[in-house]
């Protein structure tokens, strides 16, 4: 029994929290009647009440539905960006880890440059050039996210390529593609899940930062970053306009980061021993 408790507390609880979060955000339109776009100029900047659970913003729009809509977009962007980055990273990592030294060298110096480089600078350049909108934002954020999965995947492949079952598959005459996808990839996927989770939190931070500066999605769309930026003008009289989306954003990132840490501990026995 004593062995199971840490798993429940450390992994299951954060997973449950993230699950609930996703469920709430998906069920948003059914939970809240009000539209996120409907302005009621008679009820501007209202404090939380029974009618508007989290109050209204400077145009009298319902904060609850706006936050749910914004969080849904954030999570959607994070999931898409991290899936694309993971696919790209896995592909580059597999190729680099399993091919000759020259290809490996070229790919890895590319990864080194991408990994160290300040991501926000690249994103801002891309946002400046690409037409505004969700696809451009996803493309820009994916462009800065694939390097870490690629380098982790590569080192994992380097370790696995000398394993007995891989050598056995080679001896049996299996093709490279078959070895990579049937034998190497399934055994290297664990760290990818951790990176996916931690990367999702980082993507949400970047996306909300961009929206905050007005460089993300168009300002008409409800985003957590955009709502915090707008709410700054009303901090004195009605602080809830900025503080409620702030809490929503921090809680979202916190839950995901906590899950990422827990998964890392769970999947890496070396770290587990170190912690205990």
């Amino acid at each position: 029994m004593k062995i199971k408790r840490p798993f429940f507390c450390d992994t299951f609880a954060p997973a449950l929290a993230v699950g609930l979060l996703v469920l709430t955000v998906l069920a948003g339109p059914f939970l809240v009647r009000q539209s996120p776009y409907q302005s009621e100029f008679a009820h501007v900047l209202q404090a939380p009440s029974l009618n508007h659970w989290l109050g209204t913003d400077e145009l009298g729009r319902d904060m609850t539905s706006r936050i749910l809509r914004g969080a849904r977009m954030s999570l959607l962007i994070a999931a898409t960006v991290q899936s694309a980055a993971a696919l790209l990273g896995i592909l580059v990592g597999l190729i680099a880890g399993y091919s000759n030294r020259m290809i490996d060298g070229v790919l890895m110096s590319l990864v080194d440059v991408m990994y160290g480089f300040p991501a926000l600078v690249i994103v801002i350049v891309l946002v400046a050039v690409l037409p505004p909108g969700v696809p451009s934002l996803i493309a820009a954020l994916t462009f800065v996210s694939w390097a870490l999965p690629a380098s982790v995947m590569r080192s994992k492949v380097m370790l696995l390529r000398n394993e007995e079952y891989v050598v056995a598959a080679q001896a049996l005459g299996a093709s490279r593609v078959r070895i990579l996808f049937r034998h190497v990839l399934p055994n290297a996927i664990g760290p990818m899940i951790v990176l996916f989770t931690q990367g999702a939190a980082a993507t949400i931070i970047s996306e909300s930062a961009l929206s905050y500066m007005g460089l993300g999605l168009p300002t008409s769309y409800p985003t957590l970053g955009g709502m915090i930026a707008k709410g700054r003008d009303y901090l004195l009289g009605s602080p809830h306009v900025a503080l409620v989306p702030t809490c929503a954003l921090v809680l979202t990132i916190l839950c995901i980061n906590r899950l990422g840490n827990a998964l890392r501990l769970h999947l890496d026995p070396r770290l587990q021993r170190f912690q205990n």
Binding site: S109, F117, V121, A128, M213, R232, L235
Partner: protein, 328 residues
């Protein structure tokens, strides 16, 4: 074996196992990073969006003499590689091109005061973050209390999960608007830099102290620490003479990676606190589609990032010969 004879340079220079060779390779890597990144940004920002001369004219009829002079100086209409080389050549002489939005005003006149301002407030922020990280890690690394440990873990997780602009919103609402202790925004007095520096330093401090804390915890479990303790050395002496020097190197590496984050943070903090630095310049330039200014800021930030990473790489190689001396 024969292949290495092809190089004319002395062995020590090309061997990655000597310090000299390590320096050389690090520099080559830094310079190639710089060239790749600036070329990428140049292609994206000069060629892709619009014709520079049309943008510079901004709807007016350009003076033909002026247009010819600009063509000659900046190589508009030449092949892209030539344009890049001309751009770099001008850059080395302190000419960053012409702003579209300000109709041909030299970019250097915009970026120079901005850069000065950014450096002015980033250095105290970085120093604050490093000092805070060292203090936090030293006080919590060696603790036997599970409560302190758990509390620190949560504190670091929260610090890690809180973007700079959220810290800024909360701190401004408490210290500037409620308590009236500090100004909301602006740069007129040194007091104005307190809030931006803290907002910059807090998230940075969280990630730095996490690394340093892990390193210190590991060092405290080593045999030489136990020996030092058995000899009867004081806790302070163990920390300063044994633990910190051994934990310093990984810490230094992380600091160099975090400088990238600092550069990104400048965009946010400067927009929030209305500091006329390079970050705010870049954000307004993006919104105004002023590509030469965006390009100039990108180049300056790339240069700062590459230079600081190179410095840390060289310092690390100098402090720990294992980095380049090991056979691999």
């Amino acid at each position: 074996m024969m292949k290495s004879r092809m190089f004319v340079a002395p062995r020590a220079l090309i061997s990655r196992q000597s310090f000299l060779g390590y320096c050389l390779w690090s520099t080559v890597r830094a310079v190639s990073t710089l060239v790749c990144a600036t070329f990428g940004a140049f292609v994206a920002l000069r060629i892709a969006p619009a014709d520079p001369l049309t943008m510079l004219a901004a709807g007016r009829q350009l003076d033909p003499a002026l247009e010819a002079a600009w063509r000659l100086r900046y190589g508009f209409g030449q092949p892209i590689l030539v344009q890049y080389l001309i751009y770099m050549h001008n850059l080395l002489q302190g000419d960053f091109g012409l702003s579209y939005y300000y109709a041909g005003k030299p970019v250097v006149a915009l970026i120079e005061p901005a850069l000065r301002m950014t450096i002015l407030w980033q250095i105290p922020a970085l120093a604050l973050a490093i000092a805070g990280a060292i203090a936090l890690a030293m006080t919590t690394a060696n603790t036997r209390s599970r409560w302190v440990d758990s509390a620190t873990n949560w504190l670091l997780l929260i610090g890690f999960s809180t973007p700079e602009f959220v810290v800024a919103t909360v701190l401004v609402s408490i210290f500037a608007l409620q308590l009236h202790m500090l100004p909301v925004a602006g740069v007129t007095t040194p007091i104005h830099f307190v809030l931006p520096s803290i907002c910059m330093a807090l998230p940075l401090c969280a990630s730095l102290s996490q690394v340093l804390r892990n390193e210190l915890t590991e060092v405290f479990q080593k045999d030489y620490t136990r020996t030092a303790r058995a000899k009867g050395l004081s806790a302070l002496r163990i920390l300063t003479a044994h633990a910190l020097p051994n934990a310093a190197l990984p810490f230094l590496m992380v600091v160099s990676y975090q400088i990238g984050r600092c550069i990104g943070g400048a965009f946010l903090i400067e927009s929030i606190f209305n500091i006329p630095g390079v970050g705010r310049l870049a954000v307004s330039a993006v919104l105004q589609r002023d590509y030469p200014v965006v390009l100039a800021v990108t180049v300056v930030m790339t240069l700062a990032f590459v230079a600081s990473s190179l410095l840390v790489d060289l310092l690390a190689g100098f402090l720990d010969p294992r980095i380049h001396g090991s056979e691999r």
